[in-house]
Symmetry: C2
Subunit: 236 residues, 2 copies
């Protein structure tokens, strides 16, 4: 019963640590990183570094210069807003298609996932909330039968996951999100394409605004159930 390295490959380890180092500010925005330097830093050979760098490049976290290494991208408000706007545009496409393909069985399953979302919300476990939320979106967009659009929006998830883990959620944000999900499900049940698209894009926009506010506040609040932290938020 040896499961020492689960699905944990060296590339993924490097990728996660690299991402963590970017968010923690240990690797400054705009800093140039080299394969050799990172290989020594993480104690591995060039190949996993290249792989991780390429994946993070696909997520927009690093920008590659042809023959001159790579550069850390600043995870600032503009970058986050851009990623969310991209998500919003694609989500509009996906939801329009969902309305055309969705079945009652799909709706039942999505409602079950939504119930799960609301349950973990009461627990207040951020990791669980993120996971359930992700499952909701994944299950929904699968219906759209557009794998390219789906994976394009999926590609932005690791970034948002990491940011939410760090900055948490604003007060009442979870309830708002769940309310939006419920309304979206109702629109899907009615097969109201325009409304579903509108609600989904609104949801995405609200999520963007909430995350941006949390980033402005610099909060590290876990957003967990204990409401006794509410007073000290440096709101602006």
């Amino acid at each position: 019963m040896r499961k020492p390295s689960n699905r944990q490959t060296s590339s993924t380890r490097v990728r996660d640590r690299l991402r963590s180092d970017i968010f923690s500010g240990h690797l400054a925005p705009g800093a140039r990183v080299t394969v050799g330097g990172l290989a020594k830093r993480y104690g591995t050979s060039p190949m996993p570094i290249r792989e991780a760098l390429q994946e993070l490049q696909g997520q927009g976290l690093v920008t590659g210069i042809p023959r001159r290494g790579a550069r850390i991208r600043a995870v600032d408000a503009e970058f986050v807003a851009n990623v969310y706007d991209l998500r919003t545009a694609i989500i509009g496409l996906l939801l329009a298609r969902c309305v055309r393909y969705i079945t009652n069985v799909d709706i039942e399953e999505i409602e079950a996932i939504q119930a799960e979302c609301e349950r973990v919300t009461r627990n207040g476990d951020v990791a669980g909330i993120l996971q359930a939320h992700h499952r909701f979106h994944d299950r929904l967009y699968r219906i759209a039968h557009n794998a390219e659009a789906h994976s394009a929006v999926e590609r932005t998830w690791p970034l948002l996951h990491a940011l939410r883990s760090r900055f948490g959620f604003g007060p009442g944000r979870h309830d708002e999100s769940n309310r939006n999900h419920r309304r979206l499900i109702e629109a899907l049940r009615q097969r109201d394409e325009a409304l579903a698209v509108q609600l989904g894009q609104d949801s995405s926009e609200r999520a963007k605004q909430d995350l941006l506010a949390m980033m402005r506040g610099g909060a590290i609040s876990a957003g967990a159930g204990s409401a006794r932290r509410g007073a000290g938020r440096p709101r602006d």
Copy 2:
């Protein structure tokens, strides 16, 4: 006059040949490919194969199975339609932002590129047309100041480029495209956001329909007026 050498790396060579082999049908859709097999086929070591595979996976041409190799994706009508729909959605976002950021200098430069588009159209050189067309889009979307959305739509270009090189354009398609470009430029000059978005998305939709029609016909016509066909390979 020297430097025949690089910008051509082994990874890119493998990537291009792999893509070519997929389009030519030499690698059947759904076929499983292995790193070792491709390494022998292309006479190289595993690493460039992995790199090329990963990039093509990012473009949706191959789908990776965690521990079990990769699979060639079928380049059929559904796949092409999906990619175009994704493009259309993102283009809407980009054009809406373009209207907000565009300057008169931008418009002048875009008009110059459009003039180039029309000149190469008269020549009938497909490669030149594709290049000019690409420059038009690239220059335009740069204005939107959303690098993530821009690169997401750029990622779909190599696929469309390859397909157009193989299947060409329908009769009158170039003139229609240029007409749409001119109208789009006019909408941008008026800063009419709704119209610009509408025209841009219409253009994308028309391009999709044209390419799908060409694929249905199985034509290899260069689209330069000589609409001779019938000797073409129906499919491989």
